[in-house]
């Protein structure tokens, strides 16, 4: 049930207003505020201190180190002998100057878009279906979803690799028996598109449960009166969906899309384990590209440079949402 961020904020809103309308507590609040003064002003910072310290040391420090590495010529020899060879912007120049990098960026954007759209669409549909089902069927479907969701990524990729194996894979066998005989010996990892299809199926399979279950949980918080009011106004099922359900879920959908964009964009084990970015490096997304160039080829400086470019691309992609969040937080204050 993670990520009710925006959703619950809104859901909680009416209560807050109610609370504020009542005179009692409000006055008390003022009273206690005044009596506390300075210590209260420091409180939020104290509460945030552990999180901030952790972020600075455990994320900030490695990022700075990574940044330093990105300006170095750091290969196995330099790593082993503890040599530091600065080479300025060489790594960035080389990465940005190669057409390969740009086609990987483009591919990553397409891949992320396709997956996120599928995940959100299917997730929403399954979530709405959950809301519609009877108790027993709902439990059954939930069980299936939770099983898929909880499957550790390493285990899931292994199983998928094998379900889609060319010679003894279950998928080809089923397609063949279903009458599609040309699929009997189909090689799923032979082309860029079919490899991406398998990866997409895996990622969508793993991600839909998160969206569906959360969305279902969110729909249960929609006050029944809203639907009653809508049906009194003569709204059909579609109208009541667009006028009640959807507006209510909108913040939730935004927040979830944002998370899915990050997760899909960063998907690493799924792509790497299925076909190692093949065939012919055609399914390498940015994280895989950074790993192959950096860790795989032991050009750690280059890998660090690409990883920074990767973060930049991700920030650009999510900037719209980030801006919206900043604005919203502003409004709240």
């Amino acid at each position: 049930m993670p990520v009710q961020t925006q959703g619950t904020d809104t859901a909680g809103e009416p209560d807050v207003h109610k609370a504020e309308a009542r005179p009692g507590p409000r006055e008390t609040k003022r009273g206690t505020r005044a009596s506390r003064g300075r210590s209260a002003a420091a409180a939020p910072y104290l509460l945030l201190l552990p999180a901030l310290l952790a972020t600075l040391t455990l994320l900030g420090w490695p990022l700075v180190k990574n940044g330093m590495l990105s300006f170095q010529n750091l290969n196995a020899r330099q790593l082993i002998q503890h040599l530091t060879e600065w080479n300025g912007f060489d790594n960035y120049q080389e990465a940005l100057g190669s057409s390969e990098f740009w086609s990987v960026v483009q591919r990553t954007v397409y891949f992320t878009t396709a997956n996120v759209v599928l995940i959100m669409l299917l997730g929403t549909l399954v979530g709405l279906l959950l809301a519609r089902l009877g108790k027993r069927m709902r439990l059954l479907l939930m069980l299936g979803l939770v099983l898929a969701w909880a499957m550790p990524i390493i285990a899931a990729t292994t199983v998928y690799q094998w379900l889609f194996a060319q010679r003894y894979g279950v998928v080809n066998w089923v397609l063949d028996k279903a009458g599609w005989h040309s699929m009997a010996d189909y090689n799923w990892l032979g082309t860029q598109f079919s490899t991406f299809s398998v990866v997409t199926m895996l990622i969508v399979w793993q991600s839909v449960p998160f969206v569906a279950i959360n969305l279902y949980a969110a729909t249960t918080t929609i006050p029944k009166e809203l639907y009653e009011a809508a049906s009194l106004d003569g709204a059909g099922p579609w109208k009541s969906f667009t006028s009640v359900t959807f507006p209510f879920l909108r913040p939730f959908l935004y927040a979830t899309t944002f998370l899915e964009v990050i997760w899909v964009f960063k998907a690493f084990p799924q792509i790497f384990a299925i076909n190692e970015g093949g065939p012919d490096r055609l399914t390498e997304t940015l994280p895989i590209y950074a790993f192959v160039e950096g860790v795989g080829n032991q050009h750690f400086g280059m890998g660090a440079a690409i990883s920074f470019l990767t973060i930049l691309v991700l920030i650009v992609i999510t900037s719209y949402y980030l801006r919206a969040v900043i604005k919203q937080e502003e409004d709240e204050l």
């Binding site: 196995a76 790593l79 010679r167 970015g277 065939p279 080829n297 032991q298």
Partner: protein
């Protein structure tokens, strides 16, 4: 700040330990084994290299000789390159490391391996040249050859009999004729040949007397478009035409031994231990298994093979260099080198020990080809070429799917050259 402090302590520590070494050096030599007492040597071997009984015997012999203990740590294959590279950079690395023969030049070039010239002088005079070659970098010994293996033909006697074949083939043409017979007379797949069995392809290249790289000025470039390499690829294509195996997978996916164990495949080209894998999957197949040397152009010379294998190296950063060398003397002694060859059916580092292979059908089939075996180019830059995704595998798949070898080579050569040009 902190790093500087640590570095300072490190330097101080080093001065101290150098001084300590100086002291020890003199007295240590006289004391002999005594000074090793209480120490523990850490040895990294790859999964499947060191059999349990053999390990136990080595430990006992080593302790008896030096008074020190040895701890074997079995390494898994996943991510091994990252592990070895980072381990060599540490202040307390494993003392002895098993390193693949084709990887050895690259690691020697990083400065992470200790030089072993004196060890070679002391115990290495009989080492077979072809297997010791990979341990030499810029004229100096950086590792010691440990064990080697090459591929053989593993075949299903029942299917061959069904096809009316009486004897195992002595030349490549005879082999192809036999495969044709199996194709016609039985419903079995004549041979399982995955499209990317790249080490078998390397063997064919060696058989043609070709090389995968050539010198261009002072640097190495791809030689994939060489007519001899093309000839090797044509032979490979002919083999693959008898198989319905995936053209873009290697022999491990699915494991060819698993496919073979179903009893519907005439033969496959694999390592000796793959026969054991097949038997594990289907015990009934054991009685039908047979082995022969991969036949070459003519009956007097077997097909070229890739001589895979492992060397043992001492980490340059190890604080127990002398003890590590003592360990190498024990493991590489005739007793243990021979015992390993016998237990694993692998080819030992000297000719005189090959007698320990007697009675082992696979090893006996493998040994004749070992004499004409070779490796991948022994230059430090080569290891990068084989990194996933291996461009040569892409070349093989492209040719098998109908591209002309020249075009296929052109497609991947820039990638190969890029990798060869990488600094280490």
């Amino acid at each position: 700040m902190k790093r500087k402090l640590i570095a300072a302590i490190g330097v101080a520590g080093m001065l101290f330990s150098v001084a300590a070494c100086g002291d020890d050096g003199d007295s240590g030599k006289d004391a002999g084994p005594e000074s090793f007492k209480g120490q523990t040597l850490v040895v990294w071997t790859m999964d499947g290299s060191a059999p349990a009984d053999w390990t136990k015997d080595v430990q006992a012999a080593f302790e008896k000789k030096t008074g020190a203990k040895v701890k074997f740590e079995t390494q898994q294959w996943d991510g091994i390159q990252q592990k070895v590279t980072t381990a060599l950079s540490e202040s307390n690395p494993p003392d002895v490391i098993e390193i693949g023969n084709t990887q050895t030049p690259a690691y020697a070039a990083t400065g992470g391996l200790a030089e072993l010239e004196d060890l070679k002088k002391e115990i290495g005079s009989e080492w077979t040249d072809s297997v010791n070659e990979s341990s030499i970098f810029e004229g100096k010994q950086y590792a010691a050859p440990w064990y080697f293996a090459n591929r053989v033909v593993i075949y299903n006697k029942k299917i061959w009999a069904e096809a009316g074949i009486k004897d195992t083939p002595k030349t490549r043409d005879e082999f192809f004729k036999d495969l044709e017979a199996i194709d016609k007379k039985t419903d079995a797949e004549p041979i399982y040949m995955a499209g990317q069995n790249w080490y078998f392809f390397d063997g064919l290249i060696i058989g043609q007397g070709a090389d995968l790289v050539k010198k261009d000025g002072d640097k190495y470039v791809s030689n994939l478009s060489d007519p001899k390499v093309t000839a090797a690829m044509e032979i490979y294509k002919k083999y693959a035409s008898f198989s319905s195996a995936p053209k873009d997978k290697d022999e491990a996916n699915p494991q060819q031994a698993d496919v073979f164990s179903k009893g519907k495949t005439g033969a496959f080209i694999g390592m000796g231990w793959e026969a054991a894998t097949a038997i594990e999957a289907n015990p009934a197949i054991e009685k039908d298994l047979g082995y022969f040397t991969i036949p070459g152009e003519t009956a007097d010379k077997p097909e070229g093979v890739f001589l895979g294998g492992s060397n043992l190296a001492v980490a340059a950063g190890s604080e127990r260099q002398e003890l590590a060398k003592e360990f190498l003397k024990v493991v590489l002694s005739d007793e243990f080198e021979g015992a390993l060859a016998k237990a694993n059916g692998v080819i030992p580092n000297k000719k005189s020990l090959e007698s320990s292979l007697e009675g082992n059908a696979v090893a006996e089939a493998a040994a004749p080809a070992a004499a004409v075996g070779g490796t991948t180019p022994l230059i430090p830059q080569w290891a990068a070429v084989e990194n996933t995704p291996n461009p040569i595998k892409a070349y093989m798949t492209a040719v098998l799917k109908g591209k002309s070898p020249a075009d296929a080579a052109k497609d991947v050569e820039s990638e190969i050259n890029k990798r060869l040009a990488q600094e280490n």
